[in-house]
């Protein structure tokens, strides 16, 4: 039963990174200098993200709900030790979601207010991506001290440092990469496609470099998890495969096949996440007392059963409706636009 829950957490996290991630990335892409193409780029992003952004970000809520119902100790430990980064992430989520919607639904599309929305959407997207990475990195650092009495070691030390920041940057690069690859197929305009392709390739390079920086920062801070990195053949294999797939990516980009590019990019990011997961499993959170595993922190069996039931029944409704959503919006590439 616990394994089913772990599978759902993993799957939701993956979908949040792939779908929500490209949504964050789109915000960051809007921060990059675009010159005269800014206005058209904005429309492409509005049309591409508008119908799906609400659904994309619910994967995160799903992770939160599974955690607090299925693994309440993990949830409360995280919410105490990582209060500050969680709060920072929330502020970002609030600002970016509302700025994006307000921009689209402002009845008077004046340049001045539109610019404010766009900047807020972009900055808060970058901000949230960084904090998301910092939170993820903090899970495995063995710096969460549940008995600490001073403010610094209890609430700041768990997430402070170069390594979490490097992961934050790495996550932001991944999001930009996903967004750029996704957006290539969302526009028919040649110059915009070229722009997204260039950003995608640059972001892909940044992902590889960022990954290396994460590794170096982890070594520098003697992160316990990453010391195992080189000794874990599965992780090494998976990350190696992700790196090799860059060749496939460049090929599909050169052949101008948006679908193949998307698939390859998605697979690359999935492999990176899988590598991270393999390094972790079966731990979920490493504290100074040692690792907390999914199995040792799981809620009572009756709760697990109800949660699994809710997830299965929920999936039976959610996946068909998501499929319908995508079919409605992706089957025809007409430019009727939104209301």
């Amino acid at each position: 039963m616990v394994d089913v829950l772990v599978f759902f957490i993993g799957a939701s996290l993956l979908l949040y990174v792939l779908l929500g991630g490209s949504d964050y990335g789109a915000g960051i892409v809007e921060l990059l200098p675009a010159g005269a193409r800014r206005e058209r780029q904005k429309h492409v992003i509005n049309d591409a993200m508008g119908p799906v952004w609400e659904a994309n970000h619910i994967w995160l809520i799903l992770v939160v709900v599974i955690l607090f119902m299925g693994f309440p100790t993990v949830f409360t430990t995280l919410m105490i030790a990582l209060h500050v980064p969680m709060l920072a992430l929330l502020v970002g989520i609030v600002v970016r979601g509302t700025a994006f919607t307000f921009r689209h639904y402002d009845a008077r599309q004046e340049p001045a207010s539109q610019r404010v929305y766009t900047i807020l959407f972009g900055v808060s997207s970058l901000w949230s991506a960084l904090w998301l990475g910092i939170i993820v990195a903090s899970l495995g650092r063995a710096k969460i001290d549940r008995h600490a009495t001073d403010v610094w070691s209890a609430y700041f030390a768990p997430w402070w440092g170069l390594y979490p920041l490097a992961v934050g940057v790495f996550v932001a690069c991944i999001f930009v990469f996903l967004a750029a690859v996704y957006l290539i197929g969302e526009t028919g305009e040649a110059d915009l496609r070229r722009r997204f392709t260039r950003i995608g390739i640059a972001a892909n390079a940044a992902v590889v470099i960022g990954g290396g920086l994460v590794f170096l920062a982890a070594l520098g801070e003697q992160d316990p998890l990453h010391r195992q990195f080189l000794r874990n053949p599965e992780t090494l294999g998976v990350v190696g495969l992700a790196t090799l797939m860059c060749v496939a990516l460049w090929t599909s980009v050169r052949r101008r096949s948006p679908l193949a590019t998307r698939v390859v990019a998605g697979a690359q990011v999935t492999l990176i996440l899988l590598g991270w997961w393999l390094l972790y499993a079966p731990d979920v959170l490493i504290t100074t007392d040692g690792p907390m595993t999914f199995h040792t922190t799981a809620a009572p069996p009756a709760t697990q059963r109800q949660l699994v039931l809710a997830l299965l029944v929920g999936s039976a409704f959610i996946f068909p409706s998501l499929f319908f959503l995508l079919r409605v919006f992706k089957s025809r590439r007409d430019s009727e636009g939104a209301e």
């Binding site: 508008g50 119908p51 799906v52 609400e54 659904a55 970000h57 619910i58 995160l60 809520i61 799903l62 939160v64 709900v65 599974i66 607090f68 119902m69 309440p72 100790t73 949830f75 409360t76 995280l78 919410m79 105490i80 209060h83 969680m86 709060l87 929330l90 502020v91 989520i93 609030v94 600002v95 979601g97 509302t98 919607t101 307000f102 639904y105 402002d106 009845a107 008077r108 209890a154 609430y155 809620a299 009572p300 009756a302 709760t303 109800q306 949660l307 809710a310 997830l311 929920g314 409704f317 959610i318 409706s321 998501l322 319908f324 959503l325 409605v328 919006f329 009727e336 939104a338 209301e339």
Partner: protein, 432 residues
């Protein structure tokens, strides 16, 4: 402000903010679907304009509701880790169903907002209705979870540890039914009256009057019907509270001393030191009747509870009076509404009355939540865990409070500004 007070203030403010958007999110899609239905049935373009005007409002308000709801799901743990550590496994179930409902709502709203001309008209209409239905379900699940805090069930509590967890029994706790009925009706009421009043105001101002009259009628049918049903639901709720949380009922009524033939107070301020009610009009025997269907029944007073288990009596009593007073007034206006609807003419003074009622339903909802939440104090899980034992050990919660105060007040101002721009722009287009 100490840490506990700051955490409570943050929670109260976050919830009080979110609840406005949640109520709108549960109700507006139904109003929108009604207008859309008239358009599809009659081919009337004005109903289409109305549908789209409301739809843009729904989109703006939904975004604010969605993000403030996300904040709440984190804040459960950020503010009350002591609570979530125990409660998560017991009462997570309605939240997991709420997650499902909210997911479907997000998909449906994407389909409806962007799906014009991409689906067959009636399929598209159904996606709009689905937004309302799933939003309504979310509300039911979340309020059921709150019911559990008032009437804990589905676990055994020994030495600070919960065992024998039964999430199904926890979800269908003794308070879930009356709380959800009361809340869902309140949402229909508040939003129906709010939207109806705004359109009454716009009608009186005279731009695009026929559009605003139609809008007012659709909104008021929902608001007025719910207002007439609410006294029944409220009575049912009061009886359940009398049984489940006698201390809360006693605080609501300023009932200090256990007595038979207990009076119902109209107005009045409870004086906690002398344990007397000041001012106000007592109706002898009415509280006994309302709580137990018998004018001579005994109603438990605050004297049966240790002093440190009393909720803040003045706040709860005043909030309760505000809620009931507004509810009664809304029911009266609802009767008038149906009377004028039958006569097919709304006098201007009645439309002005509707304008005055725009904020009333929301004020009543906020007051009602103060009754529920403050009336449960000092408990976070009634009779099991005190709020003070659930609060986060993280210091400096007051900054957390200021942060969200600033963020949400800004959001509120921008939202109102955007909605005004929507209305004036839509009127200008219609006015030619």
């Amino acid at each position: 402000m100490d840490n506990l007070l700051a955490a409570r203030a943050t929670m109260a403010f976050s919830l009080g903010f979110h609840i406005v958007f949640a109520a709108i999110g549960m109700t507006m899609p139904f109003l929108m679907s009604a207008a859309h239905w008239f358009h599809l049935k009659r081919g009337d373009e004005e109903y289409l304009a109305l549908t789209k005007m409301w739809m843009k409002g729904v989109a703006i308000l939904f975004a604010v509701g969605a993000v403030s709801g996300t904040v709440l799901s984190f804040e459960l743990g950020l503010l009350w880790p002591g609570f979530m550590e125990h409660a998560g496994a017991i009462i997570g179930m309605p939240f997991s169903w709420e997650g499902t409902a909210f997911f479907l709502e997000a998909v449906a709203i994407g389909l409806f907002l962007y799906g014009w001309k991409r689906m067959r008209p009636w399929v598209h209409w159904c996606t709009g209705l689905a937004v309302g239905v799933t939003g309504f379900m979310s509300g039911v699940f979340v309020v059921a979870a709150n019911g559990w805090m008032n009437a804990p069930a589905g676990f055994t509590w020994e030495n600070g540890v919960a065992s024998d967890v039964d999430p199904v029994a926890a979800m269908f706790n003794a308070a879930w039914l009356h709380q959800t009925i009361h809340m869902q009706l309140a949402a229909l009421q508040a939003v129906g009256f709010g939207v109806g009043g705004i359109h009454a105001f716009l009608f009186l101002r005279g731009r695009a009057p026929s559009l605003h009259m139609r809008a007012m009628k659709i909104a008021m049918v929902f608001g007025a019907t719910a207002s007439l049903l609410q006294p029944l639901a409220g009575h049912f709720a009061a009886q359940r509270v009398a049984e489940l949380q006698p201390a809360k009922l006693a605080a609501m009524e300023g009932h200090f001393h256990t007595s038979t033939r207990a009076p119902l107070w109209i107005g009045g301020i409870p004086d906690v030191d002398t344990q007397e009610m000041r001012m106000g009009v007592p109706l002898p025997g009415m509280l006994s009747f309302l709580a137990h269907d018998d004018f001579d029944a005994e109603v438990i007073g605050l004297d049966r509870f240790p002093r440190d288990e009393w909720p803040p009596v003045v706040i709860v009593h005043v909030a309760f009076q505000i809620m009931v007073g507004i509810g009664m007034a809304m029911a009266a206006v609802a009767l008038l509404y149906f009377w004028f609807l039958r006569k097919k003419h709304f006098p201007r003074w009645f439309l002005r009355t509707l304008v005055a009622f725009v904020p009333m339903g929301m004020i009543a909802i906020e007051a009602g939540w103060i009754v529920t939440e403050v009336g449960r104090q000092p408990w976070i899980i009634y009779g099991v865990m005190r709020t003070a034992d659930a609060v986060t050990p993280v210091p400096g919660m007051v900054y957390h409070f200021y942060l969200f105060l600033t963020l949400y007040l800004t959001l509120a101002v921008v939202t109102v500004w955007l909605l005004r721009r929507q209305i004036t722009t839509a009127e200008r287009t219609l006015g030619g």
